[in-house]
């Protein structure tokens, strides 16, 4: 059995499928099914496609009758609700509307009052969600699945490959990674973690044989005005980009959970994020604005030394 690789573009990111398949035909069959599944999810949840379900949901905003959702979308919404609760309101899929004020390609900051004008449209607590019925009460409200559907897609594709009989492989959707299973000899995949200021170079490597890994960082899209970076991750409570951490990588039983945890840690920032991750008990690596590495997955030699007045935190065993 040999490892075969397919590179393609989906959900706005470069993707790779690494599969140990018995034959080229077997590989193609699985890869085709994986691409079809990704295309299905993209068609359904992309906010850029007018006929997507996401667009139909957003078009229903302001309609008191709302919209009825299918089982998969309902479960995704339930999950978003849980993540909102567990993050103290920071993980909020209604915050996408703030991008109207933040144009990360424009090179300019929002005009005064622009953010305040959008804030009535932000807040998970404002929507009315009773499975399977969703009402977005104010016209202009939006749900943005982009914050977690790619992670979910990685898990789905990995599960699909397993269903098709594959045991050994890796799904990488632009850095959102799910393992199908370890290499045939049982050895784990080595996943490189990018340096936020040099996105092409790996700063650390993580062993993965099951579950998933996801990274949130301020390098993906950002705005630099007067030398200050404004990351694309927006705090739903202030409407402003988060600052403090350059990137957070988390490993978990599912890529979806890893992605949610890394996003929440980014939103909690340099003070709250690392402590929250340590308590969560998932293996993680965070890189602060100065480029210093910390967390259980940080390579030992490059880990930031503990400040002298405090003893080093106990590192949860990874895995």
């Amino acid at each position: 059995m040999q490892a075969r690789k397919l590179g393609f573009k989906a959900m706005g990111s470069p993707c790779e499928l690494h599969l140990h398949a018995e034959s080229q035909a077997g590989f193609e069959r699985v890869a085709e099914a994986a691409c079809a599944e990704l295309a299905r999810l993209e068609r359904k949840y992309s906010r850029y496609l007018d006929d997507s379900l996401a667009s139909r949901i957003n078009a229903s905003a302001g309609d008191p009758n709302g919209i009825e959702l299918d089982e998969e979308t309902a479960s995704l919404l339930d999950y978003a609700g849980l993540a909102w609760e567990q993050s103290g309101g920071l993980f909020d899929i209604t915050s996408g509307v703030l991008r109207r004020a933040w144009d990360f390609r424009s090179g300019r900051l929002p005009a005064p009052g622009e953010i305040d004008a959008l804030r009535p449209l932000v807040g998970w607590e404002k929507i009315r969600w009773r499975r399977p019925h969703l009402v977005l009460p104010h016209a202009g409200m939006q749900l943005d699945f982009g914050g977690y559907v790619k992670e979910y897609a990685a898990d789905r594709v990995a599960a699909l490959c397993r269903e098709l009989g594959l045991r050994h492989g890796l799904v990488d959707l632009g850095g959102d990674i799910a393992a199908i299973g370890p290499h045939p000899d049982g050895s784990p995949w080595r996943v490189g973690i990018r340096h936020p200021r040099a996105p092409d170079g790996a700063i650390a490597s993580v062993a993965l044989s099951a579950g998933g890994i996801a990274t949130s960082g301020d390098y993906e899209r950002c705005l630099v005005v007067d030398g200050k970076r404004y990351a694309h991750i927006l705090n739903p409570k202030t409407g402003w980009p988060v600052s403090g951490l350059a990137s957070v990588t988390v490993a978990a039983s599912h890529c979806l959970i890893a992605g949610t945890a890394s996003t929440i840690a980014m939103l909690k920032g340099a003070c709250g994020g690392p402590a929250w991750l340590d308590r969560l008990g998932l293996p993680n690596l965070r890189i602060d604005a100065e480029g210093a590495l910390s967390g259980p997955l940080a390579p030992p030699l490059r880990r930031r030394p503990a400040p002298p007045h405090r003893s080093a935190p106990e590192a949860p065993a990874g895995g």
Binding site: S75, D155, G165, P184, A210
Partner: protein
């Protein structure tokens, strides 16, 4: 309070606060995990097939206590108390190669109490039970080693075990296989088993009716089919055949034949057939599952039995599950069974064992399970209580002379399971 004591208290309080915060945090991971698992396709074997999930340890403790017999059902002067059994079960499983797991099961039981010996006519003509005079104390230890090999769509397993008791030794082995078809919607399973037992009853000098040394062999085979019917419903059907050969009587029981106690004496061959069908239905709106089982049993001693069982698996909160269940059982008697015998039988077969008598039984059980994480491990703790009541009047058919030794019992279990 001294400064040192205050410092100590402050430290203890902040430790407690930290622990609480940590626990809340673990709960938030559990909540996210539960949410992720509710998504289509993600509940599958995401980690379950990863090698690491196959390492696990289980411990279970059960206390089985039979209720005292009412004085109206025992012979005057006979013991009324019955069996108590404490059972410790331990299981450890781990992979030793990429696709190969081994598991070890150890069971240790201690039993004490009296058991039904034979039945005599009482003063009012109703049969009454004579219990064994002395209470027995015994220990049993079982060891079972199992190897399992995983293929892409199939599993094969082989096992071997021994069972020791003061008066009993058994050695057993088994082979099993499982095949997944139709995109895992259909699973075929089958297996073969054999057990070779030797029985060396105790106190044969005092009880001359007991044999000194006997042997028996049991062979079994089963064939099963599981089918996913819809996304939320599945059923399973299993047919099991068992053949017993050799000494199939109970050395510690007697039967009263024309006023004289004789040794329990059963045929030396027994063919048994059991057909079990199970149905599972998941109600996602209620986060619960309904289980319904029916088993039909027949053997060539002419015992026919029906078992019906219903269970409701209710998930509550994030990590808690409550499982109430009820079971009904009814059987007819063996051809040669009688509470006692007014005439000798031409075939020389006699048994007054309540397990061969006609009766019905009702039992109910409540089980609670909770998941938690501590010391970096995932745990499942469970507790259950079952009450079992049997009676001639519970049988489907009319029973004119119920056996006085029919048993009622309580069963308490606590268990702890972890996966590494």
């Amino acid at each position: 309070m001294t400064a040192a004591a205050r410092r100590h208290r402050r430290k203890a309080r902040s430790r407690a606060a930290r622990r609480l915060a940590q626990r809340r945090q673990r709960e938030s991971l559990a909540a996210l995990t539960a949410g992720a698992l509710a998504l289509p396709g993600l509940a599958g074997p995401a980690g379950a097939e990863g090698v690491s999930d196959r390492i696990g340890a289980d411990y279970n403790f059960s206390r089985y206590s039979e209720h005292k017999l009412p004085s109206s059902k025992v012979a005057v002067g006979s013991e009324r108390g019955r069996y108590d059994i404490d059972m410790h079960q331990f299981r450890f499983a781990m992979p030793i190669a990429d696709r190969f797991d081994v598991g070890l099961d150890v069971v240790h039981e201690t039993m004490s109490g009296a058991s039904p010996w034979y039945v005599i006519p009482g003063d009012d003509g109703k049969p009454v039970q004579v219990m064994t005079g002395a209470t027995i104390d015994d220990k049993r230890t079982d060891l079972l080693l199992e190897g399992k090999y995983y293929m892409d769509r199939a599993q094969a397993s082989a096992s071997g075990g021994v069972s020791f008791e003061k008066d009993y030794f058994a050695i057993n082995g088994g082979l099993g296989g499982q095949l997944e078809l139709n995109e895992k919607n259909t699973t075929l399973s089958s297996g073969l088993g054999v057990s070779i037992d030797s029985i060396d009853p105790v106190d044969t000098a005092e009880y001359p009716l007991r044999p000194d040394h006997e042997k028996k062999q049991t062979y079994s085979a089963f064939l099963g089919l599981s089918q996913v019917l819809r996304r939320n419903a599945a059923m399973q059907s299993t047919l099991t055949y068992q053949l017993g050969h050799g000494y199939l009587s109970d050395p510690y029981k007697q039967a009263l034949v024309v006023g004289e106690p004789l040794a329990d004496s059963r045929p030396d061959l027994r063919h048994q057939l059991a057909w079990l069908s199970r149905y599972r239905h998941h109600f996602s709106s209620m986060n619960a599952s309904f289980h319904a089982d029916y088993q039909f049993y027949w053997d060539d001693w002419n015992i026919t039995a029906h078992t019906f069982e219903l269970a409701w698996y209710q998930n509550l909160f994030e990590a808690f599950r409550l499982i109430p269940s009820v079971r009904y059982y009814s059987q007819g008697k063996a051809d040669f069974y009688a509470a006692y015998y007014d005439q000798a039988r031409a075939d020389g077969l006699y048994s007054s064992d309540y397990r061969l008598s006609p009766y019905g039984a009702i039992s109910w059980r409540i089980k609670a399970e909770t998941r938690f994480t501590t010391w970096q491990l995932d745990w499942l703790a469970s507790f259950s209580w079952e009450r079992y009541l049997s009676s001639g009047s519970y049988a489907m058919q009319k029973v004119s002379t119920p056996n006085p030794g029919l048993v009622n019992f309580d069963l308490f279990s606590v268990g702890l399971t972890t996966r590494f």
